[in-house]
């Protein structure tokens, strides 16, 4: 629901290539593994493998199976239709085409608006908190992280109260100062502005904490050397801090993009996809198709396409950043 989940956090190891490649190297150059140790090590993997298969791999396979059928939730028989569901999505005149691509367009808009802010604000807050003296640091780190622990429904209610057109906090102040009130949730582009603000407020703590950890790992000697060479604060940031935290930056970029791609709760609760269906995002459309239209086959096809797109985007991001490093 717009937050990086556990598995994507877990994939953080993916962006620490040095340690991973070191270990691979050790394995290769070491003695040939005998059968017993191979058995032992596979035992360690087993618990994860079972959970992974049970809750991820088989459901995905089952999803693929569903997506090849005309699968009405209420019908006992499900007719095999091959790739028809996928072809329908790309058939410009079909209902599915509109549903999928209008949803995708809305989701992409959200990703485009929110990801730069999530990264920029997260980094800025991290630099700020990092520069604070000891005790303040802990305090502010906690303060900024608190919203992240709230559930999306609470976040939505808080922001609905703040942004309500006629009785919300913000518009009350605008009226008091004689300014025109803003239709925060009923007009474009304000609906996007509201959703992005709410999302940034909600999830920024996560990115910030990750960045703070990365900043702690930047060797102090580099800054000292820079200072000796007469670098000012800005130059230190550009030439020392940013290159040093690059792997973490990539991790944050990928998790933020995935999280933003998964946007669901905020528009579902705050704008209900409105005005009209201009903030009705892809995941909302998929859930609608599945449980309101009761068409599991087509919605499974839509969600698999969505997953495929997210995987592609992550790979591209990964490749691009790696290239620059060379």
């Amino acid at each position: 629901m717009g937050k990086p989940n556990k598995s994507s956090v877990g994939s953080g190891s993916l962006v620490l290539p040095s340690s991973v490649s070191n270990r691979l190297h050790q394995v290769k150059s070491g003695k040939k593994r005998n059968g017993k140790s191979a058995f032992t090590s596979s035992l360690f993997v087993l618990p994860y493998l079972i959970l992974f298969s049970l809750f991820l791999f088989f459901p995905i396979l089952y999803g693929v199976w569903i997506s090849l059928h005309e699968w009405d939730l209420l019908s006992p028989q499900h007719q095999f239709v091959g790739l028809k569901n996928y072809l329908d999505i790309f058939q410009p005149s079909s209902y599915l085409h509109d549903l999928f691509f209008s949803g995708l367009w809305n989701t992409l808009q959200f990703v485009f608006y929110s990801v730069p802010l999530l990264i920029g604000t997260g980094l800025a807050l991290a630099l700020l908190v990092h520069a604070l003296p000891g005790r303040c640091k802990t305090f502010f780190r906690t303060v900024y992280f608190i919203p992240y622990s709230i559930s999306v429904s609470v976040v939505a209610i808080i922001w609905l109260w703040i942004l309500d057109t006629n009785s919300g906090l913000v518009n009350q102040y605008l009226m008091k100062w004689g300014l025109p009130i803003i239709p925060w949730l009923t007009n474009m582009p304000w609906a996007w502005v509201s959703l992005v603000i709410a999302t940034v407020w909600w999830t920024i703590g996560f990115n910030m904490v990750i960045f703070i950890t990365a900043l702690n790992d930047v060797p102090e000697e580099l800054y000292e050397a820079g200072a000796l060479d007469g670098a000012n604060g800005w130059q230190k940031l550009i030439h020392i801090t940013l290159p040093s935290i690059k792997p973490v930056m990539l991790f944050v970029m990928i998790t933020s993009t995935i999280a933003s791609f998964n946007i669901y709760g905020q528009p579902f609760l705050m704008t209900r996809g409105g005005p009209g269906d201009s903030t009705s995002v892809l995941l909302m459309n998929i859930v609608d198709e599945a449980f309101k239209q009761r068409q599991l086959g087509t919605s499974a096809a839509m969600s698999l396409l969505m997953a495929l797109m997210m995987i592609t985007i992550s790979i591209i991001q990964f490749k691009l950043s790696n290239k620059k490093e060379v």
């Binding site: 019908s75 006629n166 009785s167 239709p183 009923t186 239209q293």
Partner: protein, 400 residues
């Protein structure tokens, strides 16, 4: 194999990225409870309802009274949260395993399930066990019918109601600068269409952009932009907030809102929706009905269900306490009921309540309508164009 169904349910939910635990729980509850606590000789009846709000304890009280009133049958009452209700029902009924013996269904949902042959035709069963049509409001009884066959036994009707803030009205009488306000939210629209003599679906075809409907939407839009009865750009449920804060003088909403007004200590009045359209008095409403899954064939259970329904018809005064109006004449014609504040006002509308069109999948088919009406009320689209787009989209949906 019972487990496999659960896994399937979980798999589907997980795949679609929705709440996995709740869907899983829905089937779990049914599995776990189906044969628990049954004493020898008593027939156990599983009863599901979406009453997760303040209405839940009311129905629970009725069920408990029933269980104590006799020893032959025992009703096991399960509340499935409203937001998960139809998802859970879909997953359960489509596999026909662990079906409840009786469940609550909204009137507008019945045609969808009947089309898929998932509900039991209870015409004969009701007649043979003494559940009498005459005991219920005619509108309600007919609301549970499809092509002359009875599928639902009505519990209540909840039409749109008209609420006003007495304090603001008094103030408005003294000060013409603050006239009463009313936000014509999109669910008022069908009421005005019906009052104009129009229909949303005509002979099975989408009829959203009939002249009556365009007139209705233009009227509602003008309330905002010409008559200035309402401020502009009211968001979803924004008018509820304003009414609760005592800043909105008039409000149309369902009878379930009563408990919220009471909690907010509003000095409010309640009445049938006035005639805003051009032709006749009418009001848009929905209903709660008892339905039985088609898979239930055990005679004993069916008898038990009917016995329970008869009991509910006679003893649903408790249900009225949440502000709703039961459709059993024994209740709504009684002196006790008539002395209540809101409830008799609800029952006054029974006679001319119009339910949503009796077509399969009304929920999804009506979705484009609410969105387009909303756009028109926000002043972002011309009523005629909005209704045409809604009709086109809905027609496309019907053809699927």
């Amino acid at each position: 194999m019972g487990n496999w169904k659960q896994i399937k349910g979980i798999a589907v939910a997980a795949l679609l990225g929705t709440s996995l635990t709740l869907t899983g729980c829905g089937t779990n509850q049914a599995d776990g409870k189906s044969d628990s606590g049954a004493a020898a000789g008593t027939t156990q009846v599983q009863f599901w309802a979406p009453f997760s709000g303040p209405d839940g304890p009311r129905m629970k009280a009725i069920v408990e009274q029933y269980n104590q009133s006799q020893a032959e049958y025992k009703v096991d009452f399960q509340i499935v949260p409203q937001s998960e209700y139809y998802k859970t029902i879909d997953l359960t009924l489509s596999s026909s395993k662990n079906d409840p013996d009786v469940l609550i269904m909204h009137g507008d949902q019945i045609p969808t399930y009947v089309e898929k042959n998932l509900l039991k035709d209870v015409t004969e069963l009701a007649a043979s066990t003494g559940v009498q049509p005459e005991a219920y409001s005619e509108t309600a009884w007919q609301g549970g019918q499809i092509e002359g066959k009875q599928f639902g036994i009505p519990l209540d009707i909840h039409p749109l109601m008209f609420y006003w803030n007495k304090d603001l009205f008094q103030a408005a009488g003294l000060d013409p600068e603050t006239p009463p306000t009313l936000w014509p939210q999109q669910f008022i629209f069908p009421t005005v269409v019906y009052q104009n003599g129009g229909e949303l679906v005509k002979e099975g075809q989408i009829n959203y952009n009939s002249p009556e409907a365009v007139e209705a939407l233009t009227f509602l839009k003008d309330l905002v932009f010409s008559e200035k009865v309402s401020p502009e750009n009211v968001q979803q449920d924004g008018e509820v907030t304003l009414f609760l804060q005592g800043k909105n003088a008039m409000h149309l909403n369902g009878p379930w809102m009563m408990e919220q007004w009471e909690k907010a200590n509003l000095n409010y009045g309640v009445a049938p929706v006035p005639q805003l359209g051009t032709q006749q008095q009418a009001v848009f409403g929905n209903s709660h009905n008892f339905v039985i899954p088609a898979s239930i064939t055990d005679e004993k259970k069916l008898e038990a269900t009917q016995d329970f329904l008869k009991y509910v018809a006679a003893h649903s005064m408790e249900w009225a306490k949440s502000g709703m109006a039961p459709t059993s004449k024994a209740v709504y014609e009684s002196a006790e009921f008539q002395s209540m504040k809101q409830q008799p006002q609800v029952a006054k509308q029974f006679e001319y309540t119009k339910f949503s069109p009796s077509i399969s999948n009304w929920g999804p088919v009506s979705e484009p309508l609410w969105k387009e009406v909303n756009l028109a009320l926000l002043g972002q689209k011309d009523p005629q164009a909005a209704l045409k787009d809604a009709a086109d989209k809905a027609t496309q949906l019907m053809k699927r």
